[in-house]
Amino acid sequence: MAASEPRVAVTAPPGYTALEVKFGARQRSPHCLLVKEHRVREGPGDTHPPQRTLFVLNVPPYCSPDALSRLFARCGAVQSVDLRDKPGPGEKAEKRTSKFFTNRTATGFRVAYVVFRKPAGVQAAKALSQKGPLLISTESHPVKTGISKWIARYADSVVDREELKAEVDAYMQDYDKKIEEEEAKAAKEEGVPDEEGWVKVTRKGRKPGLPRTEAANLRVLEREKRKKARKELLNFYAWQHRETKREHIAQLRKKFEEDKQRIALMRAQRKFRPY
């Protein structure tokens, strides 16, 4: 598609406006971003307020949040840009995002929520499609791709020892403090009844209970079953004799049917053609 051709009307799915963007001036065919006003209300403390948020689909992987904010800066002041893999409700800002310990997965095409300061920005963004294709990578802010991107990624993967050490030490100090607090609290509440008069049974103390796990549960049930089986008399009454014999025959019959089916299956599948 040469740039001098009259622009073909790009069809977008209903409700969306298509916005043409190009990676750089040299590229010939543009890519389409799909934008829509974000209408879903997410409740109080909403990071994506419905009047001021633009929902963008089909964001290519080479488009970073900075590039998006620069792109939409011409429509109005941008408050924040939130890029994520799938559309979903906004999350509260996390307490501590560690540089080293987040799970980073490779990025593909993503979804973005662009929050403007004023609602007029959203309308202006929808009207952007009338103008020509916008550029993501310009001279002032070039985006790295290909070999340079991979070399940059390799350079980033080499961590600084001191930084890592400092972070790990800080985390472990917090963690140890937290564990100590929990233990102190548990020791204080030992044997003290709560408001309804119940005392919690823990592993420590004079009467330690069982660990609260599925395996321990199963063990206890197994033991109960064995004790019950010991006390039951299975061959005492005449009706018990009859019942056991009837069940035995029914089980044999069932097994026979199963075996017959299995052999029929095997026979049907067998292809005796050695050569």
């Binding site: 893999d85 390799y154 350079a155 961590v159 796990t213």
Partner: protein, 723 residues
């Protein structure tokens, strides 16, 4: 005489319904092993007479079923030796009939017919009979083994010579056997055979080779010459029109590649025999125990050359004793190894490199065990990379980076690949797992465990640098160590971590264990992968052919593949695995592999291959087997085995061509490229006080990963395959 045989057989088979079934089974068994057609074959007629003999001797009773007939015949073949003590169907009453000893003087294998005058095995060579015996013995073992499906193994799998024997070679010009007869003075035998020099010379050639390969070979066998059919009105074909003769050798693994043939002591009379047998190759040598013996020493430096010593022996002996020139022999023992030869000299197949990697790894693991100053000791060190279990295709070689080729970031002591130059050589990190001792000091929270592991990586790097002067580069999930020109990647593992990852607290407050994706991934890496140790028996070419055959012919849909590593599974386990497999087939993955540590889940094949890929794999495997066998069986063809390794490119929609100076493993292509680039490393050398080289940087893989992720997020309905 044919009529009398027919009457005899029909009299035996009356009232014996099992005989027909048994004979059918035996004929299939023989046919699968290519033993029943050609001159001197163990034909169906011979088997029928054998059954009649066993009925006569009351080893087979007329009420037996077909399976029992099969078993008894195989048992008989496995335990008796007709070349030593022949058998006879004639009754012993007539004294003017020739005795068994007379027959033994004239023939190699003796089985006399009811008339007492004809040896039914007249044309059979001893080597063919020994092959039948060997197969019968092996088949009896399979029938007794309850874990293997005997029916499938004995009767449904074909065993052509290419897949049975370790080395196979062809004698292309059969007419050379004429001169062989003259050289070995076989004129009497030639007369006996009516001028058929092929049949006359064959037994002597085989016995010559058997003597030459005495300690090394379990079995030396030959193909049976078959005269082609001809129309009635033309001349019958000449003796040399039987085509080429194929010989197969099955090796004893311990001695097959030894470079020394030790003969008797020099002063003994047997020494003269030895010298005449081996010709000018035999020399007098002095050994460490002081004795002076005749010996033959073969030249071979690398392991793959040592595997070809039998080829040297075969060629030398045939030239010396039978006047068969080297050009007539086409040896196919090592044709496939040209694919994995690396380097311009192409001397070795990488096995020596793997041995040196393992030596370096052993040294490192000893250093790790004795490291002082760690809060917890290292309990076990296990290698996970393929090179450490001898299965890497192109194992790493020691390398040292050239600084001028890279971009240096002085402030961080970092070497980066430079954008203008070709990309640096690929240095693969050799992954090693260090298991730390479990103690009460480990936290029980998964985030905390990750931090502790990172702290361990940092400390390992520091200690190794202090105590052993090894350059290390720690990271969050691993520590890279540069030692002897290799880069080892150490990962710390805590054995309770997968368990902690699996913890789920139910709403009632109870602790349950549930497999999560993260925990399964961790288990795979730290527990299961290190246990994969493999040992290949037999020669690599045969192994490859058998592997392809297994892939192509195994019934993946209806039966699980049970791999009994280190004999960890009992018979009861096997039947249980099979039953559970049949009951839950639709929920299990398409390809199911069970091992002693992983009986129900087949963790290796959970995600991949998908059904389409498996189908493609099977088709590819069967075509490859066919193509390879065609190439190897025909001694006059070009024997280009690389066609199997070149993928067909016409079924892809889009082909992306890459710039070869950015492909670090360019030289590992199937067809060695003409141009190669200098990649900024000095091979086979290791530096001590240098900057850390560029590790695990492969632009091709980066590109592929980006493409795959885009393919995943973009097209949901069309699966884009990127290779």
């Amino acid at each position: 005489m044919l009529l009398s045989h027919l009457h005899f057989l029909s009299s035996v088979s009356t009232d014996f319904p099992g005989m027909k079934d048994g004979l059918a089974l035996l004929k299939v068994w023989l046919n699968q092993r290519q033993l029943s057609k050609g001159l001197g074959c163990f034909s169906g007629f011979l088997v029928s007479m054998l059954v009649a003999y066993l009925v006569m001797k009351r080893k087979i009773v007329k009420v037996m079923s077909g399976y029992q007939v099969l078993r008894n015949v195989l048992q008989f073949l496995a335990t008796t030796d007709l070349s030593m003590t022949g058998i006879s169907l004639a009754k012993d009453t007539d004294t003017c009939l020739p005795t068994l000893d007379d027959f033994h003087h004239a023939f190699e294998v003796v089985f006399v017919d009811p008339s007492g005058l004809v040896n039914l095995c007249a044309d059979m060579t001893a080597s063919k009979y020994h092959q039948v015996q060997f197969e019968a013995k092996y088949s009896m073992e399979i029938l007794d083994d309850r874990m293997v499906d005997g029916f499938q193994a004995l009767l449904m799998t074909s065993k052509p010579m290419l897949r049975t024997f370790d080395h196979v070679f062809h004698l292309k010009h059969v007419s050379k056997l004429q001169s062989a007869c003259k050289k070995m003075q076989l004129l009497n035998e030639l007369m006996d055979r009516g001028g058929n020099y092929v049949a006359a010379a064959l037994p002597f050639i085989v016995s010559l080779l058997t003597r030459g390969l005495a300690r090394r070979a379990l079995l030396v066998a030959h193909s049976l010459p078959e005269t082609p059919e001809w129309p009635v009105d033309t001349e019958p074909p000449k003796h040399k029109d039987v085509g080429s003769l194929m010989f197969g050798i099955l090796f004893v693994p311990e001695f097959a590649a030894s470079t020394l043939e030790k003969g008797p002591q020099a002063d003994r009379p047997e020494a003269a025999d030895f010298r005449t047998f081996w010709g000018e190759k035999s020399e007098l040598r002095r050994f460490q125990d002081g004795s002076i013996c005749e010996a033959v020493v073969w030249e071979a430096s690398t392991i793959c050359q040592k595997r070809l010593i039998p080829e040297q022996i075969v060629r030398h002996l045939l030239k010396l004793h039978a006047d068969i020139p080297e050009s007539s022999i086409c040896y196919t023992g090592a044709l496939l190894e040209s694919v994995i030869k690396n380097g311009k000299e192409a001397l070795g197949t990488g096995e020596e490199d793997m041995v040196s990697v393992v030596c370096s790894y052993d040294d490192l693991s000893r250093k790790l065990w004795n490291l002082e100053g760690l809060p917890l000791t290292v309990t076990a060190v296990q290698g996970v990379h393929p090179a450490l279990r001898y299965t890497d295709v192109f194992p790493p070689i020691p390398m040292k980076p050239i600084y001028s080729f890279h971009k240096q970031v002085k402030t961080r002591h970092l070497l980066l690949p430079s954008e203008e130059k070709p990309c640096p050589a690929y240095i693969t990190p050799l992954k090693i797992i260090c298991h730390m001792e479990g103690s009460g000091q480990w936290p029980q929270d998964k985030e905390a465990i990750k931090r502790i592991k990172a702290a361990f990586h940092l400390q390992l790097a520091e200690l190794l640098q202090q105590q052993h002067q090894l350059i290390c580069r720690p990271a969050v999930t691993h520590t890279d160590v540069y030692k002897d020109g290799y880069v080892f990647r150490l990962q710390v593992a805590y054995h309770r971590e997968p368990l902690i990852l699996k913890e789920v607290v139910t709403p009632e407050g109870m602790l349950k264990y549930q497999d999560t994706e993260e925990s399964q991934q961790l288990e795979l890496e730290t527990l299961h992968q290190p246990y994969l140790t493999s040992s290949l028996h037999g020669s690599p070419q045969v192994g490859f052919l058998r592997f392809l055959n297994l892939l192509a012919t195994y019934d993946w849909r209806n039966s699980p593949l049970i791999v009994n590593l280190n004999a960890g599974l009992t018979d009861a386990d096997c039947t249980e695995i099979k039953n559970k497999f049949v009951a839950a087939r639709s929920r299990l993955p398409v390809m199911f592999i069970a091992t002693p540590k992983d009986k129900w889940n087949s963790i290796w094949t959970q995600e991949r291959p998908s059904a389409q890929i498996l189908q493609r794999l099977l088709v590819l495997a069967s075509e490859s087997v066919r193509a390879l066998e065609e190439q190897l069986m025909d001694p006059l063809s070009s024997q280009d085995v690389k066609i199997v390794f070149r993928p067909p490119l016409d079924l892809y929609d889009v082909l992306i061509h890459l710039n070869s100076n950015q492909i670090p493993r360019h030289l590992e292509r199937v067809d060695r490229p003409v141009k190669s680039f200098s990649r900024g490393v000095v091979k086979n050398s290791a530096g001590a006080k240098i900057l850390f080289p560029v590790v695990d940087y492969d632009p091709v893989q980066c590109y592929l990963q980006d493409l795959r992720v885009i393919g995943l997020t973009r097209s949901v309905d069309s699966e884009a395959l990127f290779h």
